[in-house]
């Protein structure tokens, strides 16, 4: 099975809402245009941070349709669900609309190597063996730990496995291991895009990751860091990355992190409101002032933060 080469930045798109909680369609359009102009290589919609579980099936389909209508890059859709029926239903609808593939996170009850491998086998059968899927490896949130060997088994078992969204923590040596296997031929080509709000992007790319698949409020910076790093401009990549790190770290907080991201994207004019659907954190005035302060400090190095 021939996959589109996953590399560069596949940005995780948030879902913009108007203040009463309805989906903000014009912000979806503006945000999609912004992503394309920023140079992203793909867009993932309905990830955890796209507040996917807060949407009905119809809303989910509507969002994907809207993004696909403008995007000229591959689209990944998060379809994780408590059961295969809902996963299959959403997959069929979004693939029919033109999505390139789907992302699947493991349910948090899996505790053995075999049960993880088996889950992805069954999920792939449920959605169709011809649908490219992304493994989401995010133990901090899903409580499921996949060794490199388990990931290799999933990739070997399923030709439709497209790439790995790597957000294990710690995770640097995992990338090195998988890339070493890819190099010596004991693992087929399996692109690795990193998540975890890019907290380790600098070294992850140096370890061999093919890019990022995350949603930090400056995806344009992610594009630059990956480009600089791949071009061998190590110090420049770190200089840019380090300037953002205080804000990256602030945005990575579970809970308020999503509110931070939307607040900055609103300040940058990318979306109209920083509304989260219930249940969702909102930022206190103190927290907003802290984010403002961090942005001002970023702006000393990166003019894009001057807003």
């Amino acid at each position: 099975m021939k996959h589109i080469e996953a590399k560069g930045v596949y940005v995780i798109a948030p879902t913009p809402f108007v203040p009463d909680g309805k989906i903000d369609e014009s912000s979806i359009d503006r945000m999609t245009d912004f992503f394309l102009k920023a140079g992203v290589d793909g867009i993932t919609v309905l990830g955890q941070l796209g507040e996917a579980p807060k949407m009905t099936h119809e809303e989910s389909v509507g969002i994907v349709k809207r993004v696909i209508a403008r995007a000229k890059v591959p689209i990944v859709v998060g379809v994780s669900a408590p059961g295969f029926a809902a996963m299959r239903a959403l997959t069929q609808d979004v693939m029919a609309l033109g999505a390139t593939g789907v992302m699947i996170a493991p349910p948090n009850t899996l505790r053995t190597d075999d049960s993880i491998v088996q889950y992805y086998k069954q999920a792939s059968e449920a959605i169709g063996a011809d649908v490219p899927f992304v493994i989401q490896d995010y133990p901090l949130t899903f409580s499921v730990q996949m060794t490199p060997a388990v990931i290799r088994r999933i990739a070997t078992d399923n030709a439709s496995c497209w790439f790995l969204k790597h957000e294990d923590w710690p995770g640097l040596d995992k990338i090195s291991q998988l890339k070493a296997w890819e190099k010596d031929g004991s693992l087929r080509r399996l692109p690795i895009l990193i998540g975890n709000n890019a907290l380790f992007l600098d070294f992850e790319v140096e370890r061999g990751a093919d890019g990022a698949n995350t949603g930090y409020c400056f995806p344009d910076m992610l594009v630059d860091v990956v480009r600089l790093s791949k071009a061998g401009k190590r110090d420049e990549a770190h200089d840019l990355f380090d300037a953002h790190l205080p804000l990256i770290r602030y945005e990575q907080q579970p809970g308020p992190g999503m509110a931070v991201r939307k607040y900055v994207m609103m300040r940058r004019g990318i979306i109209a409101h920083d509304t989260l659907r219930k249940p969702g954190a909102s930022l206190s005035p103190t927290a907003r002032a802290e984010v403002d302060y961090l942005m001002a400090r970023v702006a000393r190095v990166d003019p894009r933060a001057r807003v």
Copy 2:
């Protein structure tokens, strides 16, 4: 808000499938008729053991419609979902069809008293403050522990809280505490129906539980035990219960338990097949023989097990 009095046995209905995984509609009808004849006081559909997460929204609505068409007793529908949008959507559809109320389990991320209380408040607002809801208190599966004080807060905050499906383990003293509070007026009337496959039904009713809300393969036995116990026939209640306990225990195993239940219900002629949807355990020949042996032993005391 005036609720239908919850008492006796609200049986948890499995979802019957034909061997290829499609919903078996004629078995739904036969099973519903059987429940009514067995003397149940209510029916809960789409609980965890109704394999609810394996159904699409449309299938869920179809099942509820079919049961309601024949049932002359209150119907509770499990609407637990990762987000409020899906929960609201299913609730609206099934209430429009004539359901009496819904059951809500807490998400497994809740770790503080306040977060549990807040969750039920938000869930109730999401589905509508006029929709009767059942608290599912099942820490073994959901990893959320509710103290009696937390349950009292939920009941006090939400007039629409209908009853407690109690399946904490250990749980006897919890029932005693809640019933003591109900008696001294520090808790409003809150019926308690017990779950956990009835493993402690005998003493739970003696502690003050109002009945059972579980799905053991002999719901007719549950009806009898509750009736005998409420009538003060303690030894008789225990004699009947104890005759079934070896099978109750066997059926209570997480994973194979659901396969055991369907297998026995198939042998009893209540449903046509013992099929589970994927991913679902199937019984080994050895396990089936063990269940057969247990049924034969039950039959020495309870003729209903002679099939």
Copy 3:
């Protein structure tokens, strides 16, 4: 490495205390004598239910010394600890006193097959590769799931692995799998003694388990059930087991279970007090009355419950 053949009943000994929490030495003696007279094949001290974590190192050593002084059967000592230093220290002291082997539970942070295998390898190295050890496979309490293949790897890696204390739930098919491997030679001899308060003892022995390693308050009944079952007297084994099952189930409750066990052993005259060390549950008067009622019902079949 040649091991003592583990079979029959290795009873888990509680630790008796006097009401102020000090260790009750004369009850230790009486209890040890009772176990021997009951026909147990071995004794495990300082298991989870021996309240092991509540003891200092010195107290632990003292208890083991006292039991060994009277026992004429193999002694297993629970040495699970957060770190290898404490584990090694206790192991050395009790092996010097004449213990036969030790029992090790996995720390609840292990989440991958390799990490479990590696843990037992390191633990065995820490205590000494010549010290027989028992694997405690108890996912309900330790949150660690070991597949049959993982258990086989541990047994293969470590000649000093003595037997498996099996208390997975569900666990019947696991026994069948391991015993099938033992039979076809793909697993070396690995005795299986079952735990989980004997809740499935009846079928576990039929599936091939070599006996029980648990602490139900009637270990003499466990001895009889294993003997009857091994002798092919299936119905007799089940009849005796079923008579006790209502009490087994009651005693198996996490938390109050240990208080139930000590209360019954006190009523039977085996220990002097039913005291638990803090933090430990105590039985309400209602709970005691329930246990009394259960004992009276057991006594209708098993005269040993007439006390």
Copy 4:
């Protein structure tokens, strides 16, 4: 009960080992001297990152004795243990040696507000109501979530509660809440020292935290940041902090983090070896090179990193 005022930096001391795993006593001395010269206000020994669970009781006492012999600042000793007997034993020995107080983490089984409050009550009774204790609030590692209200209850119930080691994540609003209560009198004086490898030290001090209680490999930097921040030199504090943040983040990784810390402290000449006791991660050559690179970058701003 009058407590020593906890403020500034209470550094968490690692335990230095020689390559064969024995305790490196001369490194303990050199490290203690370094801490004092760096201007720390207190020292915590035998925390999680002091590899406490890997020590025997005797070793633990020996380490504390050695540090106390040289230190002229308050000493806190981590005494968390699976049971109260071991906790009491270690507490008594180290208090007799001159420790100022102890630190207690909650066991990871606590799931309700009441159970957490009760645990600290019982722990305090076990160690003696006159022994100052520190609450360790670290949900990421211990899986126990304490609301501000729970912490207030613990402080109110126990006069011997000395300060809060705050390492919740996210945790900024928690500090604001507790400090607001302290200000309005609804909470007694309860110092807050922050942990989490100082990842949010910059804003945590601004929110009102009294200092840090963590073990980053540049405790001298922590001292400076707290001092600058408390002196109102906000930008200077952030400039220094941000220069270290890439390394702070790298060191904060669970698992390899401790190896990173020891490696840097070795390179700084504070300890002789970067050995961890088994089971403990070691750094790959690639990881060491990454740390070297990060130190070189820190050195551009902070000359102390030039080694």
